[in-house]
Amino acid sequence: MIKVTIDDIEVEVEPGTTILNAARQIGGEVVPPAMCYYSKLPGTGGKCRTCLVEVAAGSTADPRPMPKLMASCSTTVMDGMIVKNKTSERVHDNRGGVVEFLLINHPLDCPICDQAGECHLQDLGYEHGSAKTRYREERRTFDPIDIGNKIKLHMNRCILCYRCVHVANQLTDHRVHGVMHRGEHAEISTYIQNAVENDFSGNMIDVCPVGALTDKTFRFKSRVWFLKPMEAECACTKCSGKAVVWMFGNEIYRVTARKDKYGEVENIEDKTAWICNDCRFDKKDPSKWNIIGPRKIDRHSVISQGKYETKIDKGLNKIG
């Protein structure tokens, strides 16, 4: 085990752990935000640059500070490393810069975006963004396209985190979409609007940190904070069948995988509980699900507005 100090908090981690995962072991405010890194998808990370941190001392053996800010998701810790995240002015400053970059071409159409309320870019903008834009130019725009009959792609909102590309590479049998073009013109797309058809392609929607990939069976049905997320399970031959159903009254509006506080799909019995497209898109009948109980939602989340969480807490206490 090696020791690393993040924002004056010491933690012991396994060798080979990244700074970000070490910070997640501490939890709370010292965890840098991550828009592209996804712990369940090997190979992700390093692209969005929101998780940059200052390394004030490289290790006990070589205590020199690292001159550049380091991407915490892809930098492994060394024994005696001292990392500054919240406590570094430089980090705060540069993170603001990254958020500004991510937002200059973003349409800021949150009022009509289905991701609003559970959007990582919204959270990030709230925390590190500025109220005004300095961008006077016309924003880059694309037409929304259907990739398959269940997924809508709004490239305008995409931040090119590459997560969905990794999902297609790792969860489906073959990838038919990817990043095309270069630089500012780079876009997620399929050749000639190919359909993305695979039993697990719907997980692209879950990993998308913004509203670029949305569920066509749920689009414009409701704001997410009007729905009640309930843990549910069903007998499914393709996936674990463990999901969250988002309900309004007795109706199921949408089905997602169970996500943790970092927005990542949870591990259940050591396996990442991705759900299949049948469960996600086609099982909207409550009788097909065994509804276990309310899903715990962070009290800072807009989804728990109206003291929703306290009600759940009481409910959970009764069950427990």
């Binding site: 990370g45 640059r49 630089g183």
Partner: protein
């Protein structure tokens, strides 16, 4: 006397691009020497002694890079030659490969032997398709004469040499993007570490070197590393190819001894012979488009008033405040009629076009800078735009996966640092700026040294 020539000495001999003429003029001597008389470790040792530094731009000591190469048992190692010369203002590798292709082949064989590589690659940019044919012809000749293939010159050493063309993306000159492209993937730079020396091409230990670096191994092995190190000053040893372009009387590719003064290089009879059409120099970019631009008074002298020399150290003297870098040796000179704002915009447009789009600061930042500079250049800018550019710069610099972000940010930062008046003039005299050039920076004109 224009100094010793080690690479381009024989370039003017007719037929030097053929194996027979090249061999008659002392070619492939280094292969003979290395394979018959030296162990691979001895070759690496000579390169270390020579003090040779990477000629692609970063200037990292080659011997050190070679000694970092991991050597696990049973895993192939690769040498990849970076012939994706795409830095605006740099054309030395093209000249070398076009005129004297066997020098590169010879360097590849000797270097591959030193590194223990049995398959080596020359990654060449797609625009150089005609050079690809030249190289393939040279490789076929070398193979026919027993310099490639199995058991080269009876030494028991085998080597295959493959020329692989890219699609012409600037980013594929970055070594890890080059490796991705060589593997047949999209040319996105990889996250480092792991460095190519540990995990490079197809996950195997790999060394990536510039064309000129590999060619320089030939005279190092022939004459010994110590002899090579005698040329030059301090840690800048040997000779360097400089691609001189811009408003010069005699632009072109020059092989110079490290340590020639910049003044001599621009005005000397053996070199560029001064500024064309009797004009005065306004600015100079000494190392390719990515390095900071210098105003005339800082080109020949450092801020401390010392003579500036063509070495890694002297050109970088003064840091970013008053210095620049030797970079890849793309020496661009501007006369008094050139517009720095337009030039900066042109560079920014290039980098915005060539950004791979993988990480956010570079993808969004380069495009934003291009648009702001377009505004300034076309007379729609505001004074705030200049500070906005500086802000964007700071947010890109050092925050990206690969050096392209820095390469895009530095020229803009330096242009504003040294030519702020001209940028401001483009705002205050927007209409006039469309019809005439600002000319030399007025307050500093008397400082400009003319010969």
């Amino acid at each position: 006397m224009a100094g010793r020539k080690l690479l381009l000495e024989n370039v003017h001999i007719p037929g030097i691009e053929t194996y027979d003429v090249y061999r008659k003029n002392g070619g492939y001597a280094s292969v003979e020497k290395a394979l018959k008389k030296m162990t691979p470790e001895e070759v690496v040792e000579e390169v270390k002694k020579s003090g040779l530094r990477g000629r692609g731009g970063a200037g990292f000591p080659t011997g050190m890079k070679w000694s970092f190469l991991a050597k696990p048992e049973g895993v192939p190692r690769y040498l990849v030659c970076n012939a994706d010369e795409s830095e605006p203002g740099t054309f030395k590798d093209r000249y070398l490969m076009e005129k004297i292709p066997h020098l590169l082949i010879e360097g590849m064989i000797t270097s591959s032997y030193a590194l223990g590589a049995n398959v080596s690659y020359i990654y060449i940019r797609g625009e150089f398709m005609y050079i690809l044919h030249i190289l393939e012809k040279a490789i076929a000749e070398a193979r026919a004469n027993g310099m490639l293939g199995k058991n080269i010159m009876g030494s028991g050493y085998d080597l295959e040499l493959v020329v692989a063309p890219g699609g012409g993306a600037y980013i594929c000159g970055e070594e890890t993007a080059l490796l991705e492209s060589l593997e047949g993937k999209r040319g996105n730079p990889r996250m480092k570490p792991p460095f190519p020396a540990v995990k490079g091409l197809w996950g195997c230990p790999t060394v990536v070197n510039n064309v000129e670096t590999i060619a320089a191994v030939v005279p190092i092995v022939n004459h010994g590393g110590e002899d090579y190190a005698k040329i030059g000053i301090e840690r800048s040893t040997g000779t360097k190819l400089i691609s001189a372009s811009g408003n010069l009387v005699r632009p072109g590719v020059y092989e110079i001894e490290m340590g020639v003064s910049v003044e001599e290089f621009i005005y000397g009879d053996d070199y560029c012979q001064g500024i064309a059409n009797g004009k005065r120099m306004k600015a100079c970019i000494p190392g390719g488009s990515s390095v900071p631009i210098l105003p005339a008074h800082l080109v020949t002298k450092t801020a401390a008033g010392e003579n500036r020399l063509m070495t890694y150290e002297s050109l970088a003297d003064g840091g970013f405040a008053s210095g620049s870098m030797l970079g890849s040796g793309g020496f661009i000179v501007f006369d008094e009629d050139q517009c720095i704002v337009k030039n900066t915009y042109t560079f920014a447009r290039f980098y915005a076009h060539e950004s791979c789009g993988q990480c956010s600061p570079c993808r969004e930042g380069t495009g934003w800078m291009e648009k702001v500079l377009h505004r300034l250049d076309h007379g729609h800018g505001t004074i705030e735009d200049i500070s906005l550019l500086e802000e964007i710069n700071k947010k890109i610099e050092g925050n990206t996966i690969c050096p392209l972000g820095d390469a895009a940010a530095w020229p803009v930062a330096a242009a504003i640092r040294h030519f702020r008046e001209e940028f401001e003039w483009h705002v205050t005299h927007a209409a006039e700026a469309q019809t005439r050039n600002y000319g030399l920076i007025q307050p500093r004109v008397e400082e400009i040294k003319t010969l």
